[in-house]
Symmetry: C2
């Protein structure tokens, strides 16, 4: 028996799930399961493939499972997930998108979103903190919403939101306008002007080999950072194209890597572990 | 990082669950996960705690999860599980109780019950094959139903079913009568006569320290085998009492151990593994 591939799961193991469609590409199990082991927690995180038509039943089933303590939510379910929370933390409330949910002691479910904080921390760690910068963001979906709120909270001078869906980009602009008036513009993707300091892909484009680029980075000015939130492949066609044109890039995994500590706090992993030892 | 406790789970890992209430005592993860590893399958089995009021939502959520390939069902859900199957194998159809379900290629769910076969195989391996024997069974629940059908199929001369719930024991008697007429008697638990060759506890009594004995083994005749299906503790109060009176005993884990090969076939683990290697 190969012990490295045989999970030490017993009937008493606590459960965490990451819900997405697709789900085969998710990195959360490879990050969280070793973290549980390091912290001495008898817990496991597994991938849950929920097609959109099944999402309500799948998340309800998980929430009714008594030994499920927490959920991570990924594309395309982050916006719908908010409707399954009893209360929203600021990250979820401002963005209208959730990427983490936990069961409270009284059985209520609390949702929050750490994508934005994780993304901004990744920018900072690479010397590209968004304070005072002009940021262009492609994609007003679940992750895009959270990143938009976080770069404004981190004092970005202006945010331009690109999305081909007018209703989606205008809804996000309106939502952000309440908190950061006058600092957000919604842009049709067809708009050709691309001046900015930081250009972010927050669409899923790049996950599949057949995907078109979310935008063409070639017209971007010298020194513009091109960031992608797609984690698999590590070097997306967008990042490879940007790199080939001499632009600095930021890979998708940073957003998740930087969220590990936030998850530890949100899910109470550190406190409980220290109390147990 | 302790690799023996860090499951090698990725987004592509296939899922199996064992559903029960309680669930902390289940042995299936400790048996099936090492089996998956030996067979080179990227799959994991985890425990799902579903209280009866949540069972319908929990099992529906699992069935709608696209990367769930199979389910094991344990106490107290085996009878209700049949209603969530699209088709029943003989073990489930005869007993009206299911302990295993798999997703077919067309998306339908097929249920079966291997508790009975597993239990009878455990008897045989210890030299107590039930052919020609008189068997007394306590408990007409999910596991009891499956064991009842299997000992009759294995040519037991007569089966006496004890259950304090008259409706439950009569329902089981009627169900078995259709297949094995004249070989089954339903008995009130208060009945004092205990003559038999094999006495089986198929109730959950013995799982909790405060449980009374399911029956008193002391009046049993010399050489009567006392078998328990409770797996935790390994030596239940019933088995300890029987042993102290010089009676041969059979522990609960044999029923599950003997089912491993049946699960391999039911879930297609062997065939797919050999095709992959």
């Amino acid at each position: 028996m190969d012990e490295t591939t045989a999970p030490a799961i017993s009937g008493a193991t606590r459960l965490f799930a990451v819900i997405g469609d697709p789900v085969a590409q998710v990195k959360a199990p490879a990050l969280l399961n070793p973290l549980f082991a390091r912290l001495g927690r008898d817990a496991v995180l597994f991938p849950v493939h929920a097609e959109p038509r099944n999402f309500a039943q799948v998340i309800t089933g998980l929430q009714r499972t008594s030994n499920v303590d927490g959920l991570l939510i990924t594309v395309p379910h982050k916006i719908r997930a908010c409707a399954f929370a009893d209360e929203l933390g600021r990250g979820a409330a401002v963005s209208g998108s959730a990427n983490a949910m936990r069961r409270e002691e009284d059985g209520r479910w609390r949702a929050d979103n750490f994508d934005g904080q994780g993304f901004v921390a990744g920018l900072g760690a690479r010397g590209h903190a968004p304070g005072g910068k002009v940021v262009r963001l492609w994609g007003a979906g679940g992750a895009g919403r959270a990143i938009a709120a976080a770069v404004l909270e981190a004092e970005a001078a202006h945010l331009l939101v690109h999305d081909p869906d007018r209703a989606k980009r205008e809804e996000l602009r309106g939502r952000l306008e309440e908190h950061w008036p006058g600092r957000v513009t919604a842009v049709d993707s067809a708009d050709g002007t691309l001046d900015c300091d930081i250009a972010v892909n927050a669409t899923p484009l790049g996950m599949r080999p057949s995907d078109p680029l979310p935008f063409d980075p070639k017209p971007l000015g010298e020194g513009t950072l091109v960031a992608d939130i797609v984690m698999e492949p590590r070097d997306t066609p967008l990042l490879r194209t940007a790199s080939a044109h001499g632009l600095p890039t930021l890979r998708g995994h940073h957003m998740l890597d930087q969220q590990l500590g936030l998850y530890e706090t949100f899910f109470g992993l550190r406190n409980q572990a220290s109390a147990e030892h």
